[in-house]
């Protein structure tokens, strides 16, 4: 009886010491979770989630202050990845935050641009070049398609153009299953 208690106590002490040592020795610095969530987010910086950028949204998710289904540009795939990372249940995109649109870039109609610089100030990734009273243009490869430049434009000269498929960006499709399930109605 006494030996058993002693053995158990000794085991507890040894294991506890090992765990304590591991906690100190392998301590993880910083908050990798925010980084990981941020890596999944599309970095559109569009604010549709209700936060001023992707990073603040990531921080809010990590703190449990935000749902994982508030990012329309990330779409269902992004939500799936967040669900996998956080071990949460998948939720379909919250409608109040928006719908998933095809990836687009903003295009300035250079005929009607008046050079007011308002869009330049709105762009979260500095993808618009121009100066006061000079025509502005969008550096398409840098544009995230956040649409934040649309509302400030006083002349509505910015439009969103969906990015089409080209020979370079074309993707091979998922192979079609040759066997279709035998339809009971047909059988």
């Amino acid at each position: 009886m006494f030996e058993a208690i002693l053995v158990m106590a000794l085991g507890a002490v040894v294991l506890g010491a090992a765990l304590g040592y591991a906690a100190v020795r392998f301590r993880v610095e910083g908050d990798p979770l925010v980084e990981k969530i941020d890596a999944i987010l599309p970095q559109t910086q569009c604010g549709q989630c209700g936060f001023p950028g992707c990073k603040p949204y990531a921080q809010a998710i990590a703190k449990g202050e935000a749902e994982i289904n508030q990012c329309p540009p990330g779409g269902d795939e992004g939500i799936h990845k967040l669900a996998d990372l956080l071990g949460r249940e998948f939720k379909s995109l919250s409608a109040e935050h928006g719908i998933e649109k095809p990836k687009s870039v903003a295009v300035i109609d250079e005929q009607s641009c008046i050079g007011c610089t308002l869009c330049i100030q709105a762009c979260p990734v500095d993808a618009i070049v121009g100066a006061a009273k000079q025509m502005h243009t969008i550096v398409a490869p840098l544009c995230t398609g956040c649409e934040l430049c649309l509302p400030p434009c006083p002349v509505d000269c910015i439009s969103m153009q969906p990015i089409g498929e080209s020979v370079e960006t074309w993707k091979w499709k998922y192979p079609v299953f040759k066997i279709n399930p035998a339809k009971r109605e047909a059988a």
């Binding site: 066997i179 399930p181 035998a182 009971r184």
Partner: protein, 338 residues
């Protein structure tokens, strides 16, 4: 329209499975010659049950029934069950065994190609655990009268006249009894069951399976890795222990030519779905089965341990495969090949 390649080698799952069935024929012929036609009844029974179960399951799973039914995989499972069960077990035992294999071990795991365990061995293991006595009544060699066998399968079980312990069973029983004087040589020499190598009749059945196995190798349906690793391991370990104490441990000839060893080496261990696929993995997998088989045969509670050995190694399959990935082209260490 499909993408490249636009023409394919004329190969199919069906032709693979049919050739496996053909390869079983010499062993079955020897089986019938020494132990009577009962095994044919069991094969027919198992085949019909397997096809029916397969058809129902495919229907339930919304798969094209005829396409999958004709792939022959259910027949291979059925034949292996019929060949590993004693030929005179009652009909319902075979039926339950086959149903277990097809419904539980195969389709509940996702059907052809998805089962982690060898279906035939699941059927066998479950039946030998559930009905140990029925599963160890084997016909005596040379007693090939069909009527009593038929009766044993379908009717009254007046079995004493026709049954006899298998060589493995007899040996195990003798060596495990308290009689300290029992030796391998003593048992093998005194008992009428035993033939020249592995038991009367059984050695010829094993030889038949060996012949079929060579056919499978020639047809490139199986590779040499598994049979060689299995038989070599069994040979080495039984040879080693027999050399150490010949009175306690049976020699390699007996181990290889008795029980299901030969059938396992070429037909059971080599099941591609549940086994390892890398060349080194195949060697480890088959050697592991041989080792476990020998341990169970020698120290375990069951006379033949192949089914349990196979299932245990099935569990380890993904792990073995993961650690035995062959080097990819160009990834080999420099200077390794010359």
């Amino acid at each position: 329209m499909n993408n490249s390649p636009y023409f394919l080698k004329p190969a199919s799952v069906q032709s693979v499975m049919l050739r496996v069935l053909v390869a079983l024929l010499p062993g079955i012929a020897a089986y019938v010659w020494f132990f009577g036609a009962a095994v044919l009844v069991q094969i027919a029974l198992a085949s019909v049950t397997a096809l029916a179960a397969e058809a129902v399951m495919l229907r339930l799973r919304d798969k094209p029934v005829m396409l999958f039914l004709s792939d022959g995989s259910a027949l291979v499972t059925a034949w292996l069950i019929a060949l590993t069960f004693p030929p005179i077990v009652p009909w319902w035992l075979t039926v339950i065994g086959v149903l277990t294999a097809i419904v539980v071990a195969k389709h509940l795991y996702g059907g052809l190609g998805q089962n982690p365990f060898n279906p035939a061995m699941v059927g066998f293991a479950l039946m030998i655990v559930a009905y140990p006595s029925l599963m160890s009544q084997w016909p005596a060699a040379g007693f090939t009268d069909f009527v009593p066998q038929w009766n044993a399968i379908f009717g009254s079980r007046e079995l004493d006249a026709i049954t006899m312990a298998t060589p493995l069973d007899a040996l195990r029983t003798a060596l495990h009894t308290a009689d300290a004087r029992a030796t391998v040589a003593g048992v093998l020499g005194s008992n009428a069951t035993f033939g020249n190598v592995g038991g009367k009749g059984w050695e010829w059945v094993a030889a038949g399976y060996f012949l079929g196995g060579l056919y499978l190798l020639q047809q490139r349906i199986i590779t040499w890795h598994m049979p060689v690793a299995f038989l070599a391991t069994l040979f080495v370990i039984s040879g080693g222990f027999s050399f150490y104490d010949a009175s306690r441990f049976a020699g390699p000839g007996f181990q290889l030519f008795t029980g299901g060893a030969m059938l396992a080496a070429f037909f059971i261990v080599t099941d591609p779905v549940s086994g390892c696929t890398t060349p080194r993995g195949k060697l480890i997998f088959a050697a592991g089965i041989a080792l476990l088989t020998w341990i169970i045969r020698t120290f375990g509670a069951y006379p033949d341990g192949i089914a349990f050995a196979v299932l245990l190694m099935n569990i380890a399959t993904p792990l073995i495969d993961m650690y035995t990935q062959p080097p990819v082209f160009g990834h080999k260490i420099k200077g390794e090949d010359s």
